[in-house]
Symmetry: C2
């Protein structure tokens, strides 16, 4: 029996370095894969600059229309790290020293190393809930449904596991991939028919080029394994009729 | 003499495969780097699903507030490729066979290979301007300030060059990077002072971890080289005072 609970999220990447093309974002993929695994569907991703009013307006919009919002970036020690301050304003909360975070970083650094720059990282919205950082000490935080994570990919990844019990997901989103030695145009018509016949299942078609050969991966996504099985059967039927080689399934 | 012309753009990535974490987007970086080189600043990136109403609403919003909008994805032959149809609706234009595109693909494919699936790729908004595709034949298109490109990164990249004369950029955005053997917290205070002293220049601070060593890259961005030079001097001054090693500049 599949419960019909849909839980969704938006990801908000904060950082001029992504918009300028200097840095390749990989946090979207890490967060999206993790959310999928706990039954949360990503509705939307936005990348915005380090501008306070833009952060405030975007967060306030996204948190109204999504169950969860995950931000990345802007919680370090430098002048361009303005996420915590902006979130405080978005929620109309005091921006102040978080005592628990202060204690964590005071313990983390050697005597004399917990300098002014590092102390900036314990300024947060009043009563924010901390997200522990097993890699580099400085915690992230959440206020209501907005979870603020760092921009450095390895640190971000190490923090996701600790969040699991704080995110209430729906049914995990299952997927099945059928990879074929063909081109999209050969299967487009048949695939449309299968999609029309399976309206509540998501069918994606993605061309690939691997080891010098063209192929297409068909990806089926649903919360319901039986729907994936039924759809998969229909696809394999027309694939067999067309004498297309299945590379992987 | 620097003209004060700001030209900006939004990038709209259309595709469930990015939102699910299945596929790593790299098109944002390719487009952003290219736009920077011709003096166009990326204000915002959004990733949205293959849902017609979402595409229509997002395109209609972004094209009003940006000089240019670049979409990627959804212009292939399969049922989940709905960008051209959605753009037609966004602009209230007929969605119809584009004669020039038809001619291009008829010539591109061998006799008998220009099948129904491939013919879907010549359906476009009425009077769309084609964007030629030197890699795989099927063109992209633009309507007014909205430019629609494919999702496959290598094909997309090959099409950007041909757009150059159709995008009117402002002054190229110049950047200069100073890489240091330090951590952000050591330079945070001094960097804030330099930013306060150079308000119309963008200073980014990005930690890195390379060959086992921590470092920070400071990135200065402006249309005005003299401002970058002035700011760079101020940074190198405090770096020298702090006896921090410069790795690269």
């Amino acid at each position: 029996m599949i419960k019909n609970t849909k839980v969704n999220a938006a990801i908000l990447i904060i950082g001029n370095e992504i918009l300028s093309g200097r840095t390749q974002d990989t946090n979207t993929m890490s967060i999206a894969l993790w959310l999928n695994s706990i039954g949360v569907k990503v509705n939307e991703v936005r990348v915005i600059p380090d501008i306070e009013s833009t952060i405030i307006n975007t967060v306030n919009h996204l948190r109204q229309i999504n169950d969860y919002v995950f931000t990345t970036g802007g919680i370090g020690p430098t002048h361009d790290d303005i996420t915590a301050q902006s979130i405080s304003k978005a929620f109309k909360l005091e921006y102040e020293i978080h005592k628990e975070a202060f204690k964590i970083l005071e313990d983390y650094y050697k005597v004399g190393e917990f300098n002014e720059g590092r102390q900036k990282m314990v300024w947060m919205p009043r009563n924010a809930n901390l997200i522990l950082n097993p890699t580099s000490g400085a915690p992230g935080f959440n206020v209501e449904n907005v979870f603020c994570l760092p921009g450095v990919p390895s640190i971000l990844k190490s923090m996701l596991g600790g969040l699991k019990n704080r995110i209430v997901g729906g049914n995990p989103i299952l997927s099945h991939t059928i990879s074929l030695r063909t081109v999209e145009s050969e299967i487009a018509k048949s695939l449309t028919d299968v999609q029309d016949n399976n309206k509540d299942l998501e069918i994606g078609s993605y061309p690939f080029f691997q080891a010098g050969k063209l192929g297409v991966s068909i990806v089926l996504r649903s919360e319901d394994q039986s729907k994936i099985n039924k759809c998969s059967k229909e696809i394999l039927k027309f694939i067999e009729e067309k004498k297309i080689k299945v590379v992987d399934r």
